[in-house]
């Protein structure tokens, strides 16, 4: 059963020929492994801050640090007090899931009634990711947290019109001649 006839042996020989690696792709892989080894940015920062290191300060330097600390504490207390009194929440910087980075997709298309994003990140589900209303200037956008990787995607205009991103390179693949776009996300870990 394992023996191949000459025709299929020729096919197997053709398929066995090596595929030359693209040095840029290998570099990307090595960089991704290095990034994975180092962990996410917050962990690298934490490691850096916790690493013991010798510090030398002159008496004047010590005095300057103490004065600065006292001043910052006083200012912080003064500014936080009114907000606490109003009962409002503290301002929080926009957060995203660990290992991802926010990516904003934009399509300028005045006159469209709806724009959705379809791609590898939402299983090409047509209604899953609507873009925010373009308004009069026709700027449609949505921001997604994406992990490192390569993503093919496209816009779906008015529920029917397949529209690649004019700002991004086309994605190769079986697209029936209707190209999608491709996006590389790097450095989120």
């Amino acid at each position: 059963m394992d023996e191949l006839d000459p025709r299929l042996r020729g096919v197997a020989d053709e398929l066995r020929r090596p595929v030359e690696p693209d040095p840029a792709a290998v570099r990307r892989l090595r960089a991704a492994v290095r990034a994975a080894a180092e962990g996410p940015a917050w962990r690298r920062w934490l490691r850096w801050t916790l690493r013991p290191r010798p510090v030398s300060l002159s008496p004047a330097g010590v005095l300057a640090v103490l004065v600065a600390t006292a001043a910052i504490t006083a200012l912080g207390t003064a500014r936080l007090a009114p907000r606490g009194a109003e009962g409002g929440p503290p301002a929080v910087a926009a957060a995203h899931a660990p290992g991802t980075r926010p990516v904003r997709f934009v399509l300028v298309l005045p006159g469209a009634h709806s724009v959705h994003l379809v791609g590898d990140f939402n299983d090409w589900s047509p209604g899953a990711t609507p873009l925010a209303d373009g308004g009069e200037d026709g700027v449609w956008s949505v921001t997604l947290p994406l992990a490192d990787g390569r993503y093919a995607y496209s816009f779906l205009v008015d529920g029917a019109r397949w529209t690649p991103d004019p700002q991004a390179p086309p994605a190769p693949g079986d697209d029936f001649g209707r190209p999608s776009s491709v996006l590389f996300v790097e450095g989120s870990t």
Binding site: M1, V11, L15
Partner: protein, 192 residues
């Protein structure tokens, strides 16, 4: 890339590279990449049919392998272990591409689309007839044929990395061969 690793005539054993990589030696994981990237890229390119998807699958497989180094059992062969991860990544990516294709078909516009093209590989790719016939195989048969007759794994190794029984794999390979013969004849006949 594989030749480069062995150019000194003394190749560091896989188990040693894995242990060093586990201990945080990035150069050892680079050596693993150098040793197996080419094999992995060939399998992924033949399975997925285009270089960009293949590179993505291989990168993802190596990253997953790196993150799972702690679970690597030294009794496993490293190439087989990497292929087990890669085969799964290729399956996932192929499913993703299939979903994209279905969505595209749903939203196909009234005018006829441009002819479907098999993505180009750099000059060293297999002939078009071979690529077209391989692409026309059902994915499970293509996977079985490639693992058996291109990557030259034993049925036992294939069973271990695909999670499919030996008898079923033999049947898939046989069907793949039968289908390939027919497809190649059709392609060649169509050209005559």
């Amino acid at each position: 890339m594989r030749a480069a690793a062995g150019c000194t005539g003394v190749e560091t054993p896989d188990a040693v590279l894995v242990q060093r990589a586990r201990d945080g030696d990035a150069a050892s994981f680079d050596a693993i990449v150098d040793r197996y990237y080419g094999d992995c890229l060939r399998y992924a390119a033949r399975m997925l049919g285009n270089r960009a998807d293949a590179e993505e699958a291989v990168q993802d497989a190596f990253l997953r392998a790196y993150r799972s180094m702690g679970r690597y059992d030294h009794r496993d062969r490293l190439r087989g272990w990497l292929f087990r991860i890669l085969v799964n990544r290729c399956r996932s990516l192929a499913e993703q591409r299939l979903r994209r294709r279905r969505v595209l078909e749903r939203f196909r516009e009234a005018e006829p689309p441009a002819a479907e093209t098999w993505p180009e590989e750099p000059g060293d790719g297999p002939p078009e007839a071979v690529r077209a016939a391989l692409a026309a195989l059902p994915p499970d048969q293509r996977e079985a044929f490639l693992l058996k007759h291109v990557e030259e794994l034993s049925y036992e190794e294939m069973a271990e990395l695909t999670g499919t029984g030996v008898s079923a794999l033999k049947m898939r390979v046989k069907r793949a061969c039968d289908r390939l013969r027919v497809l190649l004849m059709e392609v060649e006949h169509g050209r005559a």
